[in-house]
Symmetry: C2
Subunit: 221 residues, 2 copies
């Protein structure tokens, strides 16, 4: 058993803020005041500053020297660009997963695929996305590439934020999407890196278009 190093306050505060931003409880552009937040959470400003630096890496806040922190914007162009990058990196991760997966990875991937299928059937959009993220986490683990894993983990909160914002309108087409995952798993099992990454690329491209359409009509810019 491998133990994760204990978190310090920096990371706990980061986790707290991250959740609030993803769920939209803190709106884009809103200022985050160190003093106020420190008072609210009952800690000093040191950990708050550490947390803000962590969130800066995850693109959840924007830090300007001497001017403080604000929740980063979620514009159409940002979504556009984020997905462009995710498409490439997820395709790369899928390729590597197809090449490096062990038998143990495959059972885990199968298991998380079942979870996606179950959520799609139930039409539970929130859990569906959780299952999807879990699927990607397992797959990235199988890719055996810690650098890529970290890059994707840093981008994940932004993706979650976008998807959280469009949850309400995502009821119908879940089952249609599941096919992508079923295909991807099939190709990963076969070790067919080219086809596996192609399928994920198509899936991500679709997600991008959904997110863009949804955002253009419901959110600003």
């Amino acid at each position: 058993m491998k133990f994760k190093p204990l978190e310090n306050l920096d990371e706990q505060v980061a986790e707290y803020l991250s959740n609030r931003i993803i769920r939209g409880q803190l709106s884009p552009g809103e200022r985050i005041l160190e003093t106020k937040l420190a008072r609210e959470l009952g800690v000093s400003r040191g950990p708050i500053r550490g947390a803000l630096r962590i969130l800066e890496n995850k693109r959840l806040v924007k830090l300007v020297p001497r001017r403080g922190a604000q929740v980063s914007e979620l514009s159409v162009s940002f979504i556009d660009r984020l997905y462009d990058i995710l498409i490439e990196l997820l395709a790369l991760a899928t390729r590597k997963a197809a090449q490096n997966r062990t038998r143990k990875d495959l059972t885990q991937i199968r298991r998380s695929l079942s979870k996606i299928e179950a959520c799609a059937l139930k039409g539970d959009t929130y859990d569906y996305y959780n299952a999807i993220f879990e699927f990607f986490v397992v797959k990235i683990e199988a890719a055996r590439d810690p650098l890529l894993a970290r890059l994707l983990r840093d981008l994940e909160p932004s993706a979650r934020r976008i998807q959280f914002a469009s949850l309400a309108r995502r009821k119908e087409d879940l089952k249609r999407n599941v096919v992508y995952f079923e295909d991807a798993v099939k190709y990963i099992e076969e070790g067919n890196a080219a086809l596996a990454s192609k399928v994920i690329r198509e899936y991500s491209q679709n997600e991008k278009e959904f997110a863009l359409n949804n955002t253009r009509t419901h959110i600003k810019k």
Copy 2:
């Protein structure tokens, strides 16, 4: 004229440390002690901690809670993985640059190409790499994608570190490499995104192999 926000001590310290790590004055695995560094630089530990968080994002240091910071390792597998990612992201940036470049971008790209050619002729390896990085910076600027730009800027120090470590053995084949850049510029001018990104992909793949060969024979692991 757009003014860059004034740096605070966090960023100045990060800059200082970044240079020392890239130049190998701090060796991989070496611990960085907050107290000691603070004394050396004549600042308190606050800014040091800020700087360490910044360098963590750039993968130059590894931070473990309650155990402090150390200069991150530069193993063969890290180099391998870093280039895999750079290949994809630089190709993406090139594609976008070919699509979005303005006339003004083109003159800048031409100018930085000349610099590369001059350095290659003189055989000045150090300046050659600087010119290459400048070339990419200009190109990334032309891609009009701030998120991608930031991702690449965060990975740049690691690339510089690798290249700095192999500078001494990089004398002969500069001229051979210049052809890639000349081709890439040609395609970017023509707006041929597919070919431009293909050329850069090949170049990056070559660089990866050079770095790997060099590292395997001269550095540990």
